[in-house]
């Protein structure tokens, strides 16, 4: 609590108040909410961590983590296509996904180096474009150019993959390891450790040579060139790392859900992750691992309880639902507006 107050952030404060109010109004059992939040924590945690490095490198929120999610889905679809299952093949999926995300991350990095100063909007567009390409491949390419090995996942017309692919071979494969029970609360210890390990990993990277270079580029952009660093290369590295982490995060997400919504599962990952990070007290120029961890808990608490709270409060469940989608988008909008105020202190206009 003390720590929270010291790093007072209006967005976080609003979230704390909102979550607690909604929790009280919803009348949901705290145990259930707790369980749900733990599930959300391991399901979405890694994805949020993927945002930290690009922010440190001064590129703002990376909405192109969608591309990382797409890489993960490609890996999973291939695994289903080859009818693989089990832990070993999960490792294989990771290798495929990571390899793909390194490649795509490099391309995104090249794009962002051209669009300096407006990276965020560019990453949104890159996400859209990547989605179309992905759909093109799996809706049209599969069955025409690419021959599927597993006819079960194809549509009956023979071209394109089904909307929903069942991943029973991977469902909760990781979540079921080392599950502890405290009364009604279930703690999947292994996955919790995995998320913490990833968090530590990101934190570690920020304290390495590379991490130091990220923050140097983030603080003063091209000026570090005079110090013998190549800001372009460093920014590309930041995006590659982000994409790779996003890919891993999405694999965890999907194996937890156990079903793959082939064409749409990746679509909102960026918005929710960004909103969660900002809720945790990060800004578009400064983010720490603790913001991410705290943000997931806070944001998802609100997400879990708000529909029920909406119903109890307004007597209309749809309003709670609208409120929830407002929270996701609104958090980002508010954070962008508030942050701008902070950066206003610097001299603005051309006479810097």
């Amino acid at each position: 609590m003390q720590g929270l107050l010291r790093h007072y952030n209006p967005v976080t404060a609003v979230f704390v108040v909102l979550s607690l109010t909604a929790l009280a109004v919803s009348g949901m059992r705290p145990v259930f909410v707790c369980n749900e939040v733990i599930t959300r924590f391991i399901r979405d945690g890694v994805m949020v961590l993927a945002l930290i490095i690009p922010i440190t490198a001064g590129m703002g929120l990376n909405f192109a983590i969608v591309v990382g999610a797409i890489c993960a889905q490609v890996g999973l679809i291939l695994a289903v296509d080859y009818q693989l299952g089990g832990l070993e093949s999960l490792a294989l999926i990771m290798i495929v996904g990571v390899a793909l995300s390194i490649l795509l991350g490099y391309l995104i990095g090249l794009c962002l180096n051209r669009a300096r100063g407006r990276e965020m909007i560019t990453t949104i567009l890159i996400g859209f474009l990547a989605t179309s390409m992905y759909q093109l491949i799996f809706m049209v390419g599969y069955g025409t150019i690419i021959t599927p090995r597993n006819p079960e996942m194809m549509l009956s017309r023979g071209v394109g993959i089904r909307n929903m692919v069942d991943l029973d071979r991977f469902r909760n494969l990781l979540d079921s390891i080392w599950v502890l029970r405290f009364g009604e609360i279930e703690v999947p210890l292994f996955m919790l450790l995995v998320v913490c390990f990833m968090a530590l990993g990101v934190n570690y990277i920020l304290h390495t040579r590379l991490g130091r270079h990220f923050s140097a580029v983030g603080f003063s952009g091209n000026r570090v060139e005079a110090l013998g660093l190549d800001p372009r290369l460093i920014r590309i590295k930041a995006i590659i790392l982000s994409t790779v982490i996003a890919c891993l995060g999405h694999i965890i997400f999907i194996q937890n859900i156990g079903m793959l919504n082939v064409y749409t599962a990746h679509l909102n990952t960026d918005i929710f992750s960004c909103a969660a990070l900002l809720a945790g007290g990060a800004t578009v120029t400064r983010a720490k691992v603790r913001h991410a961890l705290f943000g997931i808990v806070l944001f998802h608490t609100l997400f879990v309880v708000s529909p029920q709270a909406g119903q109890n409060l307004f007597g209309n469940p749809a309003l709670g639902e609208y409120f929830r989608s407002f929270v996701a988008y609104g958090t980002i909008a508010v954070a962008l507006v508030l942050n701008a105020k902070n950066s206003d202190k610097l001299p603005r206009g051309p006479w810097k």
Partner: protein, 521 residues
């Protein structure tokens, strides 16, 4: 050790360096002096491989290090070759600590992670880094905590940190210093110069640019003088006199008689007292000055001493402290709009960014402010609320200005961005005059302008002043042009008024005044 042959560099149509040659031996301290805009910094950036040199089309000529030719395209290559550079605008990251800044790109990691992981992924050892930074600082006799944020430190300390970073490189062989002493006080400067001497004794070659003639004379072995991108002299410091060097720097001699008018009346249009403007690198720290109605006043100083901040403060581009009286009214509202409404206009020195609307036509540029502020050129047959401009009147006015000021162009509809620097400058002055200001402040009116256009522009000032009685303040680093047009010339030093001289005063007197020596009347 280092040799440069025939270096030329152009930025677009404007030539920054032409055929500069230079050589430095190991352990030599070589001075590079010249006025602002004479190409000193550009030369250093070429040596250091700065990317903007590469992006604006590279340079001609050849460089040799130990007889081997080189052509760096990034600072990383230069650093690898043992070249270090201390930048005029600091290359420090204010949000990072002193130690982080000093050791950036040379951080020390833990031995364990160094061996386990690739270099980039090794965990940094804060203790080792602190130690390393402290050692570098001690070399400069600087006792500060390497763990504090650089942004909180005083300007001169930051300068030392920057220097500490460069000289703590193990492989340093050639050190490029761009105005390193501009922000240091005399004691610090002395300390710093001693360090340089020590460094040179160890065999490091140093290329040093400065405005401060005395310290250059005290420190350097040889020096090269640049003027307008050309080498105008290269001499041994011991044999050349201060006067001769100043002479070379400014211009050989002024033969044309300055315009000399009777002493201006004591009727100040603008009075400023204790005028302070925080313009980065050009601070005014308390200027007291009266600008008399109807005069042309010159402002001269070496760069960094505040002449450019005067106009920016008066017009309200930057906030000022102190008092400002325009026509006797104290502290008029300091916004550009209000000042323009009161008949003050300012032409900034930054022609590229704050000069013009490059994609607009000549006539639109000329009519812009008059249209916005004076409601001139509006269509006479339309009601005022429609505010549609009268294209014919604008064109007519544009054509008249083109004729009158001899703007070389294809016609009034040509975009200004296509014009040469001199003609752009004429358009700007025409734009200002369209507003018929009572007081005009012009910064560096002839920088980057060819000779013919320069004459034309100076004539314009005289004509305006004669005809309309416009008061003009010209801030320039070119003494010669000021002497030709001004009634009085104010010399600034360290952000304050140092002396006011007559344009006919002796060259030597000017040299002394500009370099901060007391001037006896």
């Amino acid at each position: 050790m280092l040799e440069l042959r025939g270096i030329s560099k152009t930025f677009g149509p404007h030539s920054a360096l032409s055929e500069v040659s230079l050589s430095i031996a190991a352990g030599e301290i070589h001075g590079l002096i010249g006025l602002n805009g004479s190409g000193k910094s550009t030369l250093l950036h070429i040596l250091f491989g700065s990317s903007f040199i590469h992006e604006t089309g590279g340079y001609n000529g050849s460089c040799f290090l130990d007889g081997k030719p080189f052509r760096f395209t990034s600072p990383a290559q230069a650093i690898a070759a043992g070249i270090g550079m201390v930048h005029q605008e600091f290359a420090l990251i204010p949000e990072m600590t002193v130690a982080e800044n000093i050791l950036l790109s040379r951080e020390k990691g833990f031995a364990l992670t160094d061996t386990l992981f690739p270099r980039d992924f090794s965990l940094l050892d804060p203790r080792k880094n602190d130690h390393e930074a402290r050692r570098a600082l001690e070399y400069l006799d600087l006792k500060i905590d390497p763990r504090q944020k650089t942004g909180n430190l005083a300007l001169n300390i930051r300068q030392f940190i920057e220097i500490a970073r460069e000289i703590s490189r193990d492989n340093l062989r050639l050190l490029l210093l761009d105005e390193p002493t501009a922000v240091l006080n005399t004691a610090d400067a002395g300390n710093f110069l001693a360090t340089l001497r020590h460094l040179a004794d160890k065999g490091v070659a140093i290329l040093f640019t400065s405005h401060r003639l005395p310290e250059i004379r005290g420190l350097c072995d040889r020096l090269t003088i640049l003027r307008e991108g050309r080498t105008v002299g290269c001499c041994d410091v011991r044999t050349a006199s201060l006067g001769a060097i100043t002479h070379l720097m400014l211009r050989e001699s002024v033969t044309k008689a300055g315009r000399f008018r009777s002493r201006p009346t004591d009727d100040p249009i603008l009075t400023i007292r204790d005028f302070q403007v925080a313009m980065a690198g050009e601070e005014l720290l308390g200027l007291d000055l009266d600008v008399q109605r109807g005069e042309i006043l010159g402002l001269i100083s070496l760069s960094g001493h505040g002449k450019l901040a005067f106009g920016a403060g008066v017009i309200g581009q930057l906030p000022f402290r102190g008092s400002l009286q325009l026509d006797g009214a104290t502290n008029p509202p300091s916004s550009s709009a209000a000042m323009i409404a009161r008949g003050v206009f300012f032409l900034s020195e930054d022609r590229n960014r704050l000069g013009l609307l490059p994609r607009h036509s000549i006539m639109d540029n000329i009519a812009f402010s008059a249209l916005q502020h004076d409601n001139r050129f509006l269509h006479p047959s339309l009601p005022r609320c429609l505010r549609l401009p009268d294209r014919r009147a604008i064109r007519r006015h544009g054509e008249r200005c083109i004729r009158e000021f001899d703007i070389r162009c294809t016609g009034p509809a040509q975009p200004v961005g296509e014009l040469s620097g001199g003609n752009q400058q004429k358009v700007r002055i025409a734009h200002a005059l369209t507003l018929s200001p009572r007081l005009m402040v012009v910064n560096e009116p002839t920088r980057g302008v060819d000779i013919a256009a320069k004459e034309r522009i100076l004539d314009m000032f005289l004509a305006i002043n004669d005809r309309a009685g416009t008061t003009i303040v010209i801030a320039s680093s070119e003494l010669e042009e000021l002497r030709r047009v001004c009634d009085r010339i104010a010399v600034l030093y360290q952000g304050r008024l140092h002396a006011i001289l007559e344009p006919t005063a002796d060259d030597l007197l000017f040299s002394r005044a500009i370099s901060g020596k007391p001037v006896l009347h």
